[in-house]
């Protein structure tokens, strides 16, 4: 079948336009038929981020950087991100710029929020996760660290200088201390030298004593064992005795309490004075009776004569 020239040309032009459009969208990394959405992120430092850099979540590419703009009012970098529809980004996610621009690996990485959160709505702004890379953190801290290291070194240097001065001055305390210390060490050395024989003897004796002790223990191991066991038994009995004593003392305690309170016979006896009064009056009367008896026994003996013999 013969096609007309118009048809051929028109088809070629339309195909080329479609191919160009699709190719440009393909290399811009936009899904062909617009299923993407925009998100924003704000950073203190763009770190060499440019449009076209990838956006990664957990290392997987989920979109690309659309535009990087420095906000003149807040002095922050506002980045527009274009994200694919597929992977959802939960609310509470944070964004950071990572990678080193010299190696061309700068990208925005998203640290996802909790999984259960609803997906973030298009057009919202992701908060930034500051100092994400350890290298970046180190770089941030480097001046402070350097100045600290510097001051430490300076202090050390000053200390060393003072020490040096102290040591070099002959009348300083440190020097005298050092001299005295040296004298002491010398004395100790002399003593050790002089008493070497004594020390050796002492050590030998000590060794002999400990050897004897070991031998004794080894020989009388069984007896010691028996003794210890018996001691153990005795202690157990003592323990039992003590516990019964404890019981006895508790009982005694109750009895005393009862006595104090006046309950029971003994308590009454202790607490009721009437018996005493009666006894007292009885004793008085007996006394009178005996007195009477002594003065005039006949009166009573008369009646007591059982057998009137005489």
């Amino acid at each position: 079948m013969q096609y007309s020239n118009e048809l051929k040309v028109g088809a070629a032009i339309i195909l080329a336009a479609l191919a160009a459009f699709a190719g440009i969208r393909f290399f811009q990394n936009v899904p062909l038929f617009g299923s993407s959405y925009a998100l924003y992120a704000e950073f203190d430092d763009a770190n060499g981020l440019v449009s076209g850099n990838p956006v990664r979540m957990k290392g997987v590419k989920v979109g690309s950087v659309e535009r990087v703009r420095l906000d003149p009012k807040t002095q922050t970098v506002r980045v527009q991100l274009k994200l694919e529809r597929g992977p959802t980004i939960p609310e509470g996610s944070r964004a950071s710029v990572s990678g080193i621009s010299a190696l061309g690996g700068v990208h925005v990485s998203i640290a996802p929020g909790p999984r259960d959160n609803p997906p973030i709505s298009p057009g919202s702004t992701l908060p930034s996760l500051e100092s994400s890379s350890s290298l970046g953190r180190l770089t941030d801290q480097a001046p402070a660290l350097a100045s600290k290291a510097d001051s430490v070194l300076r202090n050390t240097s000053a200390t060393m200088a003072t020490l040096n001065r102290l040591i070099s001055r002959p009348d300083s305390d440190l020097r005298q201390t050092l001299t005295a210390l040296r004298g002491m060490t010398n004395d100790l050395e002399e003593v050790t030298e002089a008493e070497k024989a004594t020390i050796r003897r002492l050590l030998q004796n000590l060794e002999a004593v400990s050897g004897d002790l070991r031998a004794f223990t080894g020989e009388n191991g069984d007896s010691l064992d028996v003794a210890v066991r018996r001691l153990n038994q005795s202690l157990g009995r003592l323990n039992r005795g003590l516990s019964s004593f404890e019981k006895t003392s508790a009982t005694l305690d109750t009895i005393t309490t009862k006595l104090n309170n006046g309950t029971g016979t003994a308590g009454r006896l202790l607490n009721d004075p009437s018996l005493y009064m009666k006894l007292d009056s009885a004793a008085t009367r007996t006394n009178t009776l005996l007195e009477d008896f002594r003065q005039d026994p006949g009166r009573y003996l008369e009646d007591l004569t059982l057998v009137k013999v005489f």
Partner: protein, 250 residues
């Protein structure tokens, strides 16, 4: 002596007037409609195979050689993709196609018009009361301007596709590595500049060939001269225009 010094200026003026006359007859384009589509098919669609072939080889060679030059562990492999794809879009796709078409289209137009001039067919057209410039030159130049961008797209698609394929088959880098690198540094300006260049080259190749063919003189030898000069001048001006566009737009 003075005459030969002034010759380039005279040629430039002659060329400018001819092309001006051609575009002045643009309101009569309906009369040349059929001729326009014939030229579009001959210039554009018939050139697709040769342009695709050239683009395929240039893309493959560029990938292999870039991979060879970047063979250090410090440079990620994706960089190969981010060099090859923009290079083809910016430069190779359009310039290689331009050279191919300077030979194929330019020589054809110059030979055609030169033969018509020598065999006095152009004079016959004039006698018939037809505007020979509008009838012969305008459809060819318009066909070049319209169809070169189409060929540029073909060249880019085939060139980058072959680059990816060669990188994958040759074991230099995977398809996704290539695409990641190409996407990382992709800018809309790259294909836009390529497009501008393709329009410029289309105009240069066809207009120079038409000028050389239209002003052919002196028989078969003259036709040969015109054809040669059309191809050579087209190539030279493609290079000049390439540099100018790059300097102006980059």
């Amino acid at each position: 002596m003075l005459d030969s010094l002034l010759a380039p200026f005279r040629a430039l003026g002659q060329y400018a007037i001819l092309i001006g006359r051609a575009f002045a007859s643009v309101n009569e384009i309906r009369m040349y409609w059929k001729n326009l589509f014939i030229q579009m098919v001959r210039i554009g669609i018939d050139s697709v195979p040769i342009v695709a072939l050239a683009a395929a080889f240039s893309g493959a060679v560029l990938t292999v050689q870039t991979a060879y030059q970047l063979e250090t562990p410090f440079i990620p492999k994706t960089i190969i993709g981010s060099i090859v794809a923009p290079s083809i879009m910016l430069e190779l796709g359009v310039v290689v196609a331009g050279f191919i078409l300077a030979g194929r289209v330019g020589a054809r137009i110059a030979a055609e018009l030169g033969t018509m001039r020598v065999s006095e067919q152009i004079d016959a057209l004039e006698v018939m009361g037809l505007n020979s410039v509008g009838f012969l030159i305008l459809p060819r130049v318009l066909a070049g301007i319209v169809m070169f961008p189409v060929l540029y797209v073909v060249s880019c698609v085939v060139g980058i596709g072959t680059g990816i394929f060669t990188g994958h088959i040759g074991g230099f880098l995977s398809v996704s590595e290539f695409l990641e690198g190409a996407r990382q540094f992709f800018q809309l300006l790259d294909p836009f500049i390529g497009f501008i260049k393709s329009v410029a080259f289309g105009f240069i190749v066809t207009s120079i060939a038409c000028y050389k063919g239209y002003y052919t003189g002196g028989g078969a030898v003259g036709v040969g001269d015109s054809t040669t000069q059309a191809a050579v001048l087209s190539c030279v001006f493609i290079l000049v225009a390439d540099l100018l566009v790059a300097m102006l737009l980059l």
